[in-house]
Assembly symmetry: C2
Homo-oligomer: 261 residues x 2
DNA sequence: CTTGCCCACTCGTCTATACGAGTATGCGTG
DNA sequence: CACGCATACTCGTATAGACGAGTGGGCAAG
């Protein structure tokens, strides 16, 4: 094993940079340079206390900086580890193309199978409810909606939580109101019901998760979420669905193709 | 002034939730309910120490949670404040349409003026350099590129840092290599040079900022960045430009329109 | 050999204290 | 009245110590 001093250097007492920041800097640089690899354990708090000659709180302070940056994560009783970058899921802008609606399985399942990971969907909830102000506005002043909520997992890890909202006059009593909407998903059903889809609008934000999002997505410290709100419009120009999606940002890359008209 | 106990309640010693988390929860809830409004000062550390009967470090710990969530920010010598949500800039998917290239001013300037904010561009740098591995791949194995870097500010606040990379055989010696690329920007120049633009590809990620990004974008704690990589393709199918953009996530909403082909 | 316990090591939580540095306010001096 | 300084209040940094709780390995008993 390589000794600590050979990796981590010492402190600069003349610097006006706070000690805990200097320590965080050195650890960050060591990680960036690959001296500590993904999933590898960093020196324990006690070892760093020893190495730098500082108090334990100062070391913990350094770790908390790196946690906030999403670089490391602590495991109680085990140690602090370099956070591995999980495999990312790419969402292409043609993911709602009709040709992808042929198969019986949902886009999420098909795509994950192809990538060799094990996909799951849980927390299914389908019910009628009062529309929030925002959803109501997007759907054109509807009062109540059909809400479909579900959580997506890859290899057991939750990566996305999505809620779809549809006007009752469209969805009530149809297969869309069933837990399993059938092959091609609700978009296929909407088209069968005469709502030929014309285009989608997507709004994308990024922010830190709320405590409840941390819980349902089992997010590590320092992982933001991507908040995507998609509205589907039919050929008549009517908004027929709003899908509100919160994704673990470290699990996704969104990809769009834009014409240069 | 409303007294603290009427806003903040007490601790539950029987709960297994850590004290500093309970305090953070109460503060978060008070903020969510609007008991503390945007920009308003929270009770000082000393006041909370008094109110809860805990040590100062415990209170600071609570504040650090809320900071990580991007809910509050501390100002040395002043206090801890509810972080105001800055006005957001919406980026529509038609922002590169030819019709927007008519005017002399850049898209950023025009749009910000229209929104009533004061736009600035600084840190201009235009130079030839070695292409990074990633840029080289995206541009089709070029070794050296023309790099154009600039930082965008709204009302003095930095919101975006962008770097454009172009193959030398296209850009060298043209107005694209000048600090001011002229009306319509480099896309207008590219088309004049015979590279009629066909489409763009955009890749979007969200993550916590690196320390250098915190510096150049003057990011508050708990603010992620949106990392957007756009590649422009001409009618011949060649990648003629890659633009690497890092945006303060709290200042942007991206918006895309997708056909439902 | 297997089981179970103990112990060493890890991070988590919390207290108490000290000093430094930035900010604002009011008061006294000129 | 204007200026400057003292002062009180704010958060920032750091120390030293205590106890709790999760993990894993070694050792002893069965």
């Amino acid at each position: 094993m390589t000794s600590l001093p050979s990796i981590l250097g010492g402190l600069d007492p003349t610097s006006d940079r706070a000690v805990f920041r200097q320590i965080a800097d050195q650890l960050r640089e060591a990680i960036d340079r690959g001296r500590f690899k993904e999933g590898e354990k960093l020196p324990s708090e006690a070892e760093l206390v020893e190495h730098y000659g500082v108090s334990r709180m100062t070391v913990r302070n350094s770790f908390s900086i790196l946690q906030g940056e999403g670089l490391v994560h602590a495991e109680h009783g085990k140690g602090v580890f370099v956070r591995p970058r999980p495999p990312v899921r790419r969402l292409a802008s043609d993911r709602f193309a009709r040709r992808h609606r042929e198969q019986g399985k949902s886009a999420f399942i098909v795509e994950a199978d192809a990538a060799g990971s094990h996909p799951t969907v849980d927390s299914l909830e389908v019910k009628e409810e009062k529309a929030s102000q925002d959803i109501s506005t997007r759907l054109g002043s509807v009062r109540r909606v059909l809400a479909r909520r579900r959580r997506y997992l890859l290899d057991g890890r939750p990566v996305e939580f999505a809620a779809s909202y549809l006007p009752l006059d469209i969805a009530r009593g149809t297969q869309i109101a069933e837990p399993n909407p059938g092959p091609g998903g609700i978009y296929a059903r909407l088209e069968e019901l005469g709502h030929r889809l014309d285009h989608f609008e997507e709004e994308i934000r990024a922010r830190m998760p709320s405590p409840s999002e941390v819980k349902t997505l089992q997010l590590a410290a320092g992982v933001p979420v991507i908040h995507l709100i998609r509205t589907a419009f039919d050929a008549a120009g009517r908004a027929v669905e709003v899908c509100d999606t919160v994704m673990a940002a470290d699990a996704y890359v969104l990809s769009y193709q834009l014409p240069a008209t």
